[in-house]
């Protein structure tokens, strides 16, 4: 049986299996169709109906269940997540797993299209060491990402010493809904 205890290892292995079968485009189709539109359709329904409140409900539930080290912040027109200990990437790092070349892309791969469908857009950075941050605003909102500490205070992952520490390699997204929209570090 394939279980959920080590699901993230299964997930990572599956990305690479799909890449070998049909290239990166198949991996992106998988994130959109299987994860966004099928597996995580409850997230889509919540956020479509409740907007920012739905984000707080969804990520509060799912990150608690996954045992994440995280903090969420909300202000007028923006919902922010600071992840200081990603349970998913952390599992791979602790177990020496890494079949797919960029596991962290999967979040933008399903969350990006899901938020686009519900009328939202993302500023996001991850450092491939289990830390990331997200700021979600309405598609029409051109506000740039916040300065470190202004929305999340001391919980802002960008203020933590390991954010840019050894091994960190940041991928940066601005006003994006797609996993391939990286604008560099």
């Amino acid at each position: 049986m394939i279980g959920v205890y080590d699901f993230c290892g299964h997930y990572d292995w599956t990305f690479e299996w799909l890449r070998q079968q049909g290239g990166e485009s198949l991996v992106r189709q998988y994130w959109d169709e299987a994860i966004h539109q099928d597996s995580q359709r409850h997230a889509l329904e919540l956020i479509r109906k409740q907007g920012f409140a739905g984000m707080a409900t969804y990520w509060g539930h799912t990150l608690d269940h996954e045992g994440a080290g995280y903090h969420t912040s909300a202000a007028e027109g923006v919902f922010r997540i600071d992840m200081r200990g990603c349970p998913s990437k952390g599992f791979l790092l602790r177990n020496g797993l890494g079949a797919y070349h960029d596991y962290c892309d999967h979040c933008m791969g399903w969350i990006g299209p899901m938020l686009k469908q519900t009328g939202f857009v993302v500023d996001h950075e991850h450092n491939h060491c289990g830390q990331c941050w997200w700021e979600i605003r309405r598609l029409s909102d051109q506000t740039p990402p916040s300065e470190p500490g202004t929305l999340a205070g001391s919980n802002d992952v960008r203020l933590r010493p390991h954010w840019g520490g050894a091994g960190a390699r940041r991928d940066v997204y601005r006003h994006s809904n797609q996993p391939d929209d990286k604008v560099g570090e």
Binding site: H10, I35, S39, H42, E66, F91
Partner: protein, 170 residues
């Protein structure tokens, strides 16, 4: 026995005691996606390749430890699956998993998810692939929420798995 008491039995370990049940949604959706793209044979190939590569450390442990290692693995495995009710018995010639409540089917049903009809076949294909290089085989009977799985030495007189003995999930 808890996961914390047997950290070396599972090949990949986590800081939390049990997995998040919502990941069963993703497992089910992954099977649906792959079957849609590659057909039933492609899905079976995916399961077999997963069983023989990702679970290679399990195969190695079973090869070293034989049936007691198989039993230890499955006890630790189901301890870490939320909602599982499974009895694991080991005899001189086999290990029997009596799955009274399959955690995956239970969670998918509780959340009104459409379950891929051949979902329960993955237990056979994944485990058979993992077991083969350890000189073992698995035979599955039942499914759709409860089943019986037998792990036993692979030998020439063993009848092949009859897929009709594995129920469709609904």
């Amino acid at each position: 026995m808890s996961v914390q008491d047997s950290p070396c039995v599972l090949p990949y370990t986590d800081s939390k005691k049990t997995g998040a049940g919502d990941f069963y949604f993703a497992i089910n959706a992954t099977f649906r996606f792959i079957e849609k793209r590659f057909g039933r044979d492609g899905l079976r190939r995916y399961w077999q390749e997963f069983g023989s590569t990702y679970y290679a450390p399990v195969t190695a442990a079973w090869k070293r430890g034989g049936l007691p290692a198989v039993a230890s693995y499955w006890r630790a495995f189901f301890d870490a699956e939320p909602g599982a009710e499974v009895r694991v018995d080991v005899t001189s010639d086999r290990v029997i998993l009596d799955v009274q409540v399959c955690p995956a089917i239970k969670h998918l049903r509780a959340h009104a998810r459409d379950i891929v009809p051949c979902f329960c076949q993955h237990c056979y294909y994944v485990s058979e692939a993992a077991a083969a290089s350890a000189g073992l085989a698995v035979r599955v009977e039942g499914g759709n929420g409860a089943c019986r799985q037998a792990f036993l030495p692979r030998h020439s007189a063993l009848l092949p798995q009859d897929l009709a003995q594995i129920k469709e999930a609904a």
